[in-house]
């Protein structure tokens, strides 16, 4: 357990070091992309739990990200002022669930509070994940991949074709998300540092939760399901329910990432739901070592940052496609496997690497 949390502390130190480095090199504008990276990383670690530990692939997680983002964006920008007299709206208003603010044209805007919008987004995600995951997770291998891909495409086309979700333009003018007093998720550059720490703090919290889960009875059961599903069932593990719960959990991570990044960016567009985004997430988990939360997180940090800073230029999607291709060809278990150190030792001195552990 000590080792589990010492890695967390080391990672937190890295996050602080990065912030200090940008401060002393006077390049704090990097923090914007690093904050966005944090929210994508939240999705990545959730997906890593699903792919690496429960052994179920999903090429549709951009869909869950988009569901979170769009629900939150719509509810916090849709003007309820014209219906102020209506019974339901006035009830919401009285219970403090609505907030008023001036819109971009000086008019007044009445919309759902971000907390309520966030809760609605997560709730909808949970419902959809259960409804989709129930039948889909009965499939295995390529069939599961294709079914989740189909789900991702459906969400993408719906985002693209729905007028009140802004169609191809998406939704903009999304307000900040006041999480706690003084702590607002917003792209406002004066709050850049606090947002950077807030975002990575949430990632670290998510990591702690998932690391705990991996080392629990449930984690052991998931590893058993992954390794030999029929034998896991014979040990009394409800395999279908465990896979479904992990699917929903990873969908919630994706959706929450979508909610927060949408508030941070001040908007969301259909490209966030695109299939290439889902492929990118799978590629990052794969290069991170599949069943390796830390590997996936580090790869997410590096690759998302490089991508968001535009280092891959017009080859952005190509890079992730190639990564996935190379991993599947040459290291189908992922690159940064958990036992990579002992594997390497085994290469150097084959005799010392066996199971002679004390």
């Amino acid at each position: 357990m000590a080792r589990r949390y010492s890695m967390v502390v080391a990672f937190a130190a890295l996050i602080v070091a990065i912030q200090l480095a940008t401060r002393f090199t006077d390049s704090s504008y990097h923090l914007t992309q690093l904050t966005m990276t944090a929210y994508y990383s939240l999705l990545i670690v959730g997906l890593c739990m699903l792919i690496g530990y429960a052994g179920q692939i999903s090429i549709g997680h951009a869909g869950f990200f988009a569901i979170g983002g769009y629900v939150s964006a719509f509810l916090t920008t849709h003007n309820l002022a014209p219906r102020r007299g209506g019974g339901f709206v006035s009830l919401l208003s009285k219970s403090g669930a609505l907030v008023a603010r001036p819109d971009a044209f000086g008019g007044d805007l009445l919309h759902v509070h971000p907390w309520l919008a966030c809760a609605a987004a997560i709730l909808l995600t949970v419902v959809i994940a259960y409804v989709v995951g129930g039948p889909v997770l009965k499939l295995k291998g390529h069939y599961l991949a294709m079914a989740t891909l189909g789900f991702g495409i459906i969400v993408y086309r719906m985002a693209l074709g729905t007028e009140f979700l802004g169609a191809a333009d998406g939704i903009s003018d999304v307000p900040g998300f006041p999480l706690l007093s003084g702590l607002v998720v917003t792209g406002n550059s004066s709050l850049r540092v606090s947002n950077y720490y807030l975002a990575w703090g949430l990632v670290i919290l998510g990591m702690v939760l998932l690391l705990n889960l991996i080392h629990s009875r449930v984690g052991r059961a998931l590893e058993a399901v992954h390794g030999a599903e029929d034998a896991a069932g014979a040990m009394g593990i409800p395999t279908a329910r465990y896979k479904l719960n992990t699917f929903v959990l990873s969908a919630v991570f994706a959706s929450l990432a979508g909610v927060l990044l949408t508030h941070y960016n001040g908007g969301i567009g259909p490209s966030e739901a695109s299939v290439m985004k889902s492929v990118r997430y799978v590629a990052i988990v794969a290069i991170g070592g599949m069943a390796n939360l830390w590997g996936s997180l580090m790869m997410s940090l590096v690759l998302n940052y490089l991508s968001l800073r535009g280092y891959f230029g017009t080859f952005d999607d190509t890079v992730f496609g190639i990564i996935l291709l190379l991993i599947m060809l040459f290291a189908p278990d992922g690159l940064l496997r958990r036992h990579i150190l002992s594997d390497l030792k085994g290469l150097v001195s084959p005799r010392s690497a066996g199971e002679e552990a004390p």
């Binding site: 059961a221 069932g233 014979a234």
Partner: protein, 253 residues
């Protein structure tokens, strides 16, 4: 007293009647063996009893409850646990971790408790680990606790698989060809282990091809041929049964 009762069970795969109106009982505290030539329906019957397959007709009553419509995990959690003809250990997990998975039905930490690392789970995990070590001691493989399970010798993997089933604290243990792939000495050790398990109060139902093992340890034997029961008796009587001899060795004519 009967712990398991198979009543008029049938299962058809396309044109093949794999199990045909089969009935027998297993008495509590006994060792019962299912034998029969290849293709007699033994493994199908095992899959039906353990909930991996649903029978077309008939009832499987375990401890007074009809279980034929339950999924396998519910059957196991009721105390009827199986092993596999082809060893199905969990890869990438140590021997101890494999055994610890067997404690699943006797522990309760769920997703939320696991994620929040709630204090009650610490005690539970410690108990799971202790119980796992206890079982390894009992089986004489405690020295391999930290080895990757699938790296052990074949015979030891069999023992680990049985240990994992024992960790569930079953009332009825279903062993699918426990001696398959074992050499003579290992087979004899396996016989000793099965008898020891019975003496611990666990009823055993096994499918086995090794006749010397079956005849030595079984209290009763059921013989299957083409999905039907052709004999059910004590081992000595089975050896003299004309129908059984005919099925195994063929007719004079």
């Amino acid at each position: 007293m009967t712990i398991l009762s198979v009543r008029g069970v049938s299962k058809r795969f396309g044109g093949l009647q794999a199990v045909d109106d089969l009935s027998f009982d297993v008495g509590r505290g006994s060792i019962k063996a299912l034998i029969g030539p290849n293709g007699a329906g033994k493994t199908t019957l095992f899959n039906l009893i353990s909930g991996f397959l649903k029978p077309d007709r008939g009832e499987i009553v375990f401890g007074g409850t009809a279980v034929q419509d339950m999924p396998s995990y519910q059957v196991s959690s009721r105390g009827m646990v199986r092993t596999f003809q082809h060893i199905r250990l969990f890869p990438k997990m140590t021997v101890l971790e494999n055994i610890m998975v067997g404690r699943h039905v006797h522990s309760r930490a769920g997703f939320l408790a696991g994620m929040l690392n709630l204090p009650f789970t610490w005690k539970e995990e410690r108990r799971i680990r202790e119980k796992g070590m206890e079982i390894l001691e009992l089986l004489g493989i405690a020295a391999h606790a930290q080895a990757e399970a699938v790296s052990l010798a074949y015979g030891q993997q069999r023992v680990v698989e049985i240990g994992r089933a024992l960790a569930c604290e079953p009332q009825l243990l279903l062993l699918d060809e426990p001696a398959a792939g074992l050499n003579m000495r290992e087979t004899s050790d396996m016989g000793g282990l099965i008898a020891k398990i019975r003496d611990m109060g666990v009823t055993v139902l096994l499918v086995e091809h090794d006749m010397s093992l079956v005849m030595k340890i079984s209290d009763e034997v059921v013989v299957l041929s083409y999905g039907q029961k052709i004999a059910e008796d004590r081992p000595l009587a089975i050896q003299k049964n004309r129908e059984v001899i005919r099925v195994y060795l063929g007719d004079d004519q």
